[in-house]
Symmetry: C3
Subunit: 141 residues, 3 copies
Amino acid sequence: MPMTVLKIETRGQGLYEFTERVRQWLNTEPVAEGLLTLFIRHTSASLLIQENADPEVKTDLRNYFGRLVPPTTDPSMSYLTHTYEGPDDMPAHIKASMLPESLQIPVSDGQMVLGTWQGIYVFEHRDASHLREVVAHLAGS
Amino acid sequence: MPMTVLKIETRGQGLYEFTERVRQWLNTEPVAEGLLTLFIRHTSASLLIQENADPEVKTDLRNYFGRLVPPTTDPSMSYLTHTYEGPDDMPAHIKASMLPESLQIPVSDGQMVLGTWQGIYVFEHRDASHLREVVAHLAGS
Amino acid sequence: MPMTVLKIETRGQGLYEFTERVRQWLNTEPVAEGLLTLFIRHTSASLLIQENADPEVKTDLRNYFGRLVPPTTDPSMSYLTHTYEGPDDMPAHIKASMLPESLQIPVSDGQMVLGTWQGIYVFEHRDASHLREVVAHLAGS
C-alpha cells in the first residue's frame, strides 16, 4: 500500500489548499480503484474538504471558528486552564477536536471522486508559521 | 473493490436516513470482512451516524445546529462575506465543516458493525431540495 | 483483515485515553503496512485524537464542549424536545455528532503514524458510567 508524507507550510490561522499536491502524488501511484486516507500528525491543525470556488468561503470559515472558539484572553474563555503555550493554543486544540483529523476519499479510475467544488485543505489553528505533516495512504489495486 | 453512488433526495434542512439503502447494497456484494466508506460529494451537506429510535433526536439536531450557525440574515452573522448564494449558504458550508464528510464502518460477516441505535443519515444544510450523491466504497474479501 | 472489539470503561463525562490498548493489539497482528480504523458503536460518546502531554487539555476540552452544549435544564436549551432520558442525553447526541465516530490512522512498520503528542481517547458525553465498545479494524499486509 503506497504511503507518503506531504509537508504543508502554513503562515498563521486559515485554510491552505493542497488538492494539487495530492493529485500529483496519486498520478505517480499505479492504483486505479481504492481508498485514499489523509491523516494530519498534529493536535492544533485540521484537514478539511470545502468549497474552493470562492475565496470568501475560506475567510468566513476562519472567522466563524475564530469567534466560536476565541483566544483564551477573551473573558468568555477565562475558565480554561491550559494557557501557558499562548492564547491561541487551547482554542487550537478545541478546533482540532471539532474539525477532521483525517479524510477518506474513494479513488476511481485513478482519480479522487471529489465533487465539482471540493478542495482539500489544511486548516491551521495556530498564529505562528508551521510545517505540517500530512500522511497520505492509498489502499487498492 | 466494489463501489457505487447512492443518490439521496432531500427536501430542506434536516436528517434523512438511508441505512437500508446501504444495507441493501452490501447484501449484493460478496464481501464478508472489510471496511465500508461513505463519502458525500458536496460542501453544503453532511453524513452522520446518530440515534434512529426517537425522531425527536433528528429535530433537535437540526434545531441545535440551526441556532449554533444561524442564517447570514441574523445580526450575529453580519461579519460573513459569502452571502450572495442565499442566507443559508455560508452556514451550510460551516455546518458541513463541523459534521462528517465521510463515514467509515467496519463490516463483519457481511454486516455493518453498527450499534443497536445507530442509523446512517444525510444531514442536509440547504433550504432547497437537492439530490445528494454519496459514494459507497467497500474494501475487503 | 484483523478485527477486534475493545471495551472501554467510562465514569462520567470526560476523556479516557486508550492508546496503549490499541498499540498492544496492533503488536499481536502481523500487519506491517496498512490502515487502522477505530469505530465507536454508540451515539452518545465519541472517539478523539488529541494532545496527551498535559492533562489540563482534557479538562479544558470537557469544559468547553460542556458549555457549548449545556444540559437541557439550562434555559438556553429549552427548545430541545428529547429530554426524557435525562438532561445530559440530548447534549450527548449533539456532541457525538460534532466529534468523531471513527478514526483512521495509517500504519507503517507495524506502528501507528501518530505525531509525538497524539493520544487516542474515548470522549464520554454521559454522566453515568458506561462500558463503551470500540471496533478496531486493520487492513493491510
